[in-house]
Amino acid sequence: MAALARNDVRAPLFLRFAILMGPAGIVAILAGWITTEVGRQPWAVYNVMRTADAVSNHSAIELTGTLVLFIVMYFAVFGTGLSYMLKLVAKGPDVTGPEAEPGKIQRPARPLSGAPDVDPLAPASGEG
């Protein structure tokens, strides 16, 4: 614990802890959600309607198929988004670039701007 000096936000141990906290929000949401959904069984509406009485008459095949569709799509879409974000993390914050000049507005890169923000193929913008 000697490395964790008081108020030093660059202490390695603190930074590692901060990385671990990244997914903590998602874990908390999922854990809370699962607790509610499992906890109120066998009721769909507590003490009013049982889950068994609330189900539609769609077949298991239909529901499995659409569930698999969503899982595959979410992995594809979130996976791609995550890979763009990791690319941005790997690039690191830009503290010396042209944006750091005085008089320029400095702002963090947007979550999905892992690829260059300015499209090299696009012609220069016209007068607005």
Partner: protein
């Protein structure tokens, strides 16, 4: 109680759904027009015209759905169950085109053609499934008591496939006239050329649906073709013809805003025609808004919230359209 709450709620949900159809209609239309425009800079401009507003447009779908859950729980349960597969397909399409909005600008150059395809295909699938769901809705559902009793594929009929293609045409007209308003130069000329045949095809589609529906449903025929209804409702088809004629005329002179306004009016007329055919049923052919309504306390309670939030949505929506008004030029964009 002095006010007929179910009628009030039917108007709110009907309004929300119409706002959704016309607003998401033109931005889905942008995706539908993608295959006709190959140049990357043109495609970027097309997407840039809707980038600031498209996700706000989908607010109305959420409002319609949540409003139906609050006011007409029976309709919510039956319709969502009966239309499960087309609505899942619609959501899948909306997810792909939604992320494509961001990713097609942010992806590595090698991935961009993929996200362009995702944008176009997502738009086609979402728009087509909405049209199929609409056709199935007009056809009606098999209901006993509080639940949907039909099969998983009851929505699949020649009529619903036809309305699926029909809605593609309607959204393509909204999209192309939107672009006539928002772009200039070669892209605008291309859209003017496209909008002409699309208007004619849409008129044919509206004509076929207007004949097919009363032929398949005697109660719809009775609604339209009995006296004195036929006199009261005659303005709907007559105005449709007049609007299409005005559209073709407007497209021949240097058009700007007018074609888009006419396209909105054409969609409004089609929507009115459907409302006339189906009123007062919320689950055709037999469940009315009064039979499907929740308890008056729920309707009254939710109405307070709706009357607060709808003016706010309308205010910020018009504000964002005002802020991003005018032509969008090559290279300009907000993401």
């Amino acid at each position: 109680m002095g006010v007929d709450l179910p009628i009030l709620w039917a108007i709110i949900i009907g309004f929300g759904l119409m706002m959704y159809v016309v607003m998401d209609g033109f931005d889905l239309g942008i995706g539908l027009l993608f295959p006709f425009i190959r140049a990357r800079s043109d495609r970027d401009t097309m997407v840039n015209t809707v980038a600031p507003v498209w996700d706000g447009n989908e607010t109305w779908l959420v409002l319609g759905g949540a409003g139906m859950l609050a006011a007409f729980p029976l309709a919510y349960a039956v319709l969502l169950s009966a239309l499960y597969l087309p609505l899942v397909a619609m959501l899948a399409g909306l997810i792909w085109r939604g992320v494509a909005f961001e990713f097609r600008f942010k992806a590595d150059a090698a991935h961009r053609p993929f996200w362009d395809k995702a944008f176009a295909w997502g738009s086609y699938i979402a728009a087509f499934s909405q049209g199929v769901a609409l056709g199935a809705f007009i056809n009606g559902f098999h209901v006993t008591g509080p639940s949907y009793q039909g099969g998983a594929l009851d929505w699949l009929t020649p009529f619903s496939i036809f309305t699926g293609f029909g809605l593609l045409v309607a959204y393509a007209l909204l999209g192309s006239t939107w672009l006539i308003m928002k772009t200039e130069g070669a892209l605008q000329q291309r859209m003017i050329a496209l909008a002409q045949p699309v208007t004619i095809v849409l008129l044919v589609v509206i004509g076929i649906v207007s004949l097919w529906t009363p032929l398949a449903h005697p109660e719809v025929a009775a609604r339209w073709f009995s006296l004195p209804n036929i006199i009261f409702f005659a303005p709907v088809p007559l105005l449709t013809l007049a609007t299409a004629w005005a559209m073709l005329n407007a497209l021949r002179r240097e058009p700007h805003v007018l074609p888009f306004l006419l396209a909105l009016f054409l969609l409004f007329l089609g929507y009115s025609g459907l409302a006339i055919s189906l009123w007062p049923n919320i689950i055709p052919p037999a469940v009315s808004i009064w039979a499907a309504a929740g308890p008056p306390q729920s309707l009254g309670f939710a109405l307070v919230g709706a009357l607060f939030i709808i003016p706010i949505i309308l205010a910020y929506t018009s504000w964002s359209y005002y802020v991003f008004r005018g032509k969008v030029r090559v290279g300009e964009g907000y993401h």
